[in-house]
Chain length 198, copies 2
């Protein structure tokens, strides 16, 4: 993203030390606040936790989605990387898909309100939505087509639709103990499964 400058040298002026320090502080503070107050925590609260002004947050992360993305980038990457690996080591493409979805669900479910944020009003959090899709979409596509090609599942399901549906099912998990998205997702997978024809 725009906050990185890989080589660090050359033409453009190097980033100021206090700036990168603040950015780190902010990421740490945000991560901490997110677990207790969810990704919708007031900006002021995060700023206070980090001991900086609000202006500083907006400078580094123009939208809330940018901040959330930055905080969870590592985990999203890990999930993305797991896709091809699972495809290689799992018993079947279907098994790989199932296990990848498990990972995805674990991720969404352990972050308070992440799933909620992901799907909320089209306008807010657009960047987050986009990042998820860009990074995880292709992985899902790969898993899905592999499973279709092997005849494990029926064709006709779009990766976007599947990811979004799973994301939706994970919404509001905290609010009620008798709701466990995993059971429904299991059902979904069952429906996806191709009835072995002859």
């Amino acid at each position: 993203m725009s906050t990185e400058n890989p080589t660090g040298k050359a033409s453009v002026r190097t980033k100021r030390a206090d700036a990168v320090r603040n950015q780190q502080t902010l990421l740490a503070a945000a991560a901490e606040v997110f677990v207790t107050s969810g990704v919708d925590a007031p900006i002021r609260q995060i700023a206070a936790k980090a001991g900086v002004g609000m202006g500083t947050i907006y400078r580094h992360f123009p939208t809330r989605a940018d901040l959330v993305t930055a905080v969870y980038r590592h985990q999203i990457e890990a999930c993305a990387d797991a896709g091809p690996r699972l495809l290689a080591e799992a018993d079947s493409p279907f098994d790989a898909l199932r296990r990848w979805i498990d990972l995805f669900v674990d991720f969404l479910v352990t972050k308070h309100g992440l799933a909620d944020a992901l799907q909320s009003d089209s306008s807010r959090f657009t960047a987050l939505h986009t990042y998820f899709l860009d990074r995880l979409g292709p992985v899902c596509t790969e898993l899905l087509t592999a499973a279709v090609d092997s005849g494990d599942i029926r064709p006709g399901t779009q990766p976007y639709e599947l990811m979004r549906g799973i994301g939706n099912l994970c919404i509001g998990r905290d609010s009620d103990p008798r709701y466990d998205p995993r059971r429904l997702i299991e059902l979904l997978l069952l429906g996806l499964r191709q009835p072995r024809q002859t």
Copy 2:
């Protein structure tokens, strides 16, 4: 609810005429605003549309959920009533379930942000959530057990879970044209279906 007084006479003082008039005006205004701005429309906006003060709204509908409930009560009732009817006239319990879910989805999908509101943070909209459950829960239970008893679907799925899952899948439908909750719900039903065992 507390706003009705069937016989209108007797012990308790009858409701003031201007009050019931305002209530009607409010319901109409709210319904109108909901279609254009969603169920999250600012209270002020609804008050303005109805030509009353905010205090009046809060008097008649203490929480936003009360207002939403009142506006959609008729349709919820209709959906609830359709359950037993479908069970009687459909080809099979599974067919009845499928058609009932269709109705449910239609309802959620045509009201901007209704599904979103239904599941949002546990705290807000509790009353709406409760009303849905109280009214539609038993119907869903009936359909579900009938389908299980007839061997159409596999046992082990809770009505609450199913309803909530369907509600979740309907969230944010407007935001993206390539997402159609119905396809996923179809998949879910497919997974629910009992593989005919000899």
